[in-house]
Every structure is written in C-alpha cells, then in structure tokens.
C-alpha cells in the first residue's frame, strides 16, 4: 500500500490528467460536430453554397485547426478504449499506466502519418 497521503494515487497523476483531457477533447469534438453537420447540410441548399463553405476547410489556418481536431479525436478514441479496458478487463486497473503509454504510442503512430499527408494536401504538395 502507498505510504503517501490519501488521494494522491489519482490526483495530479496520469489518471486525473487523462480524465481532464478526455473531457476537454470531448467538448471540443462535440462543438465541431454541431458545425460540421450544419456545413454538410448545405448540400441540400446548392452545390455552390456547399463548395463555398467547404472551401474554408482547405484554408491553411483551418487546415492547422483540423490537425488539432484529429489530434483530439485520436486521443479521445484511444483513451476511451483505455477506459473500457480499465472498466471491463480484470487486470485493467493494475495496468492503467501501461495502457496510458499504449494510448500515447498508438496516438503517435496514427497522428504522424496523418499530419504529413494532411499538411501536404493543405499546403499544396
């Protein structure tokens, strides 16, 4: 058993910070989703209106925001799987730290190729 004062096993450590990050990324993704359904709905208005608005997604600044969005989605997705493993896998809580490292590894492996490809598109490669 830890000799530290009660509460520090979770507070200020990866368990707490991943929870904070899960909330922040979740809220961000939710608000993007609202906007994204509205912009897609323009396909019912006219091809011109849709193409005009979707054109803003190809702008370099928005292109960088998309990198942030994908970074958030990848974290939220794999941290979510980590939560499921902690909840349902008997050994999950014991390995939550290793699972956190796993989330980081998968995140890098998927994020790096995405950034290279996406920025090549955005900055006209």
């Amino acid at each position: 058993m830890p000799s530290k004062p009660a509460g520090t096993l979770y507070r200020g450590r990866e368990g707490m910070w991943s929870w904070v990050a899960h909330r922040i990324t979740g809220v961000g993704i939710f608000f993007f989703l609202l906007v994204h359904v509205l912009d897609t709905a323009l396909v019912r208005v006219s091809p011109h209106a849709y193409n005009e608005v979707i054109g803003t997604y190809k702008n370099p600044i928005v292109g960088l925001l998309e990198v942030g969005l994908v970074a958030a989605i990848l974290f939220h997705a794999f941290n979510g799987i980590r939560l499921i493993l902690i909840d349902f896998w008997a050994k999950g809580p014991r390995y939550q730290r290793q699972l956190m490292i796993g989330v980081g590894v998968i995140w890098v492996v998927l994020f790096v190729p995405f950034v290279i490809r996406h920025l090549t598109h955005v900055f006209g490669g």
Partner: protein
Amino acid sequence: MSEIAAPRSSSRSRSVKGGGRNHSGQTNFELYSWLFMRLSGLALVILVLGHLFVNLMLGGGITALDFGFVAGKWANPLWQVWDLLMLWLAMLHGGNGLRTIINDYAEKDQTRFWLKALLITAALVIVVLGTLVIFTFDPCLDPNSTLSVCK
C-alpha cells in the same frame, strides 16, 4: 450532497447522483447511460476513424472535398448507413457527455435545467437535420454532375 461512488466502477455506478434523486427513488438510467458511452464509443472509434481515413487520407484528402465527392459517397448505401449511424451515435454520445459535464459544473438547479434544455434542443435539431440531409440528398442538384443517375 449525496454519496460519491468510486469512479468507473460498474456495479456501483448506479449510485452516482442523477438529478439529485435519492438512492431509493433512482432508476437504472445512469447505469445504462454509462454502458451506452462504452458501447457507442467503441462503435464510434471505427465509424469516425474510417470517416477520417476515407475523407482526409485517401485520394486528394481535404482538397478533393466538394459537392461531387459527397454525391459520389452517398450514391453508395453503405456510406449513407455509415454516416447515419455516425451522426446518431456521435450526437447521443456527445450529448450524454455534455449532460454529465453540466451535472458536474452547473450547481444551480435553474442553470442545469436551462443548459440541458439548450443541449437537448441543439442535439435534436442536428440529428433531425442531418438525417433529413442524408435521406433527401439530391445528387443531380449539380447540373454538371457526371453521376449516371443524373444523365
């Protein structure tokens, strides 16, 4: 206030405060909501990452997105079902996540009520609008369409 359950423990999560009701008067709503977040989350990992891969990684990525791209995708019923499922699950998952956050941070009953009313309204509008768009989409709205159905 009420007792605080151990975080993320399945057997006890029903005792997490739900709208301030006491233990005896509670339904299993919070348990089902907790389970739904995990099941829908798992499905969304596949739906959203598949969506991102096809739209941003394949072909011209973001530069290839236009009306014709959407028309080409929704000509295939698989992508209609894919997008419909993604829309519904993401709005329910995200809406339920925001509900949890409102419950956590909005302390006044009035504030919680109005924030949730706003949330439900927004989620409902988005789900209904998105569903209508998927099912009533007309690819031939584009006079230059090269799709066979428009010729």
